[in-house]
């Protein structure tokens, strides 16, 4: 018998990631509710606070999301009065994402959020940075694999 022993769900990397990501969302939810944002909307706002005027494509590359996810989300942010969606006159295919005054002002209200989440994570900032880096590297490896699988399937 050299068959791999059946591993419990709890011992699987995929499952710990899956449940931890949901748990993280649950921690953010009440904090972001006060700002009128969902967690993905918060990510978009952070990306725009860091660099206003991005296209949907650029934003999608930053967040690993496509227009199918972003278009309706951005429309909701526009309806909430936080974002303006304007076609680039030089290339009408592109949509440039600008912030409204309210959208910019929200950055101040959002500033205390990360510290409260770090508190929930319950580990020192060094520890936190290391774990972040390890998971980011894992994501990079998974992305590479997904790409090669795609290429293999195409051939």
């Amino acid at each position: 018998m050299v068959t791999t022993k059946e591993i419990a769900l709890e011992e699987m990397l995929c499952f710990s990631l899956y449940t931890a990501a949901h748990a993280m969302n649950r921690v953010y939810k009440p904090l972001l509710e006060k700002l009128g944002l969902t967690y993905p909307q918060y990510l978009v706002m952070r990306a725009l606070w860091a660099s206003e005027g991005q296209t949907v494509k650029a934003l999608g590359q930053t967040l690993f999301l496509d227009s199918g996810t972003l278009t309706p989300l951005l429309k909701r942010l526009e309806a909430a009065g936080l974002v303006r969606r304007m076609r680039n006159p030089a290339d009408e295919r592109e949509l440039r994402l600008e912030l409204t005054e309210a959208g910019r002002a929200l950055q101040d209200s959002a500033r205390p959020v990360p510290a409260r989440v770090a508190q929930a994570a319950g580990c020192g900032s060094t520890e936190l940075a290391r774990l972040t880096r390890e998971i980011r590297d894992l994501r990079a490896r998974l992305d590479t694999f997904a790409d090669t699988a795609e290429t293999a399937a195409a051939s």
Copy 2:
């Protein structure tokens, strides 16, 4: 100025978790497509392979999901002929989840999946186990925090 420096998205634990969980899903997708399962459906099947006859509630506690998510998912598994949903005669509120022959047989086809994912993760099994444990512990701390926040809000 003692204000906390604004941290890039890439350096945030929440974001690395969020994107890694999605990347994991993308790795699983083509492997599970062959079995006719989505990733959450795969988790449910694994839980049932491990312990058939569970109630929806017990399954939800294992997977950290509620009936709002599980009821439609289980109906899809039933429609696919993998699962049977039967009321417990001793307590008609409970739904007991049984596997069909096809559902049990699927376990064999699913066996090679985790090894392929481990390959995608691209780290040794010791490393993989450690990372899994660290993320699972993180999830436990986040859950605790979410609970205390809930209690605080209720008082």
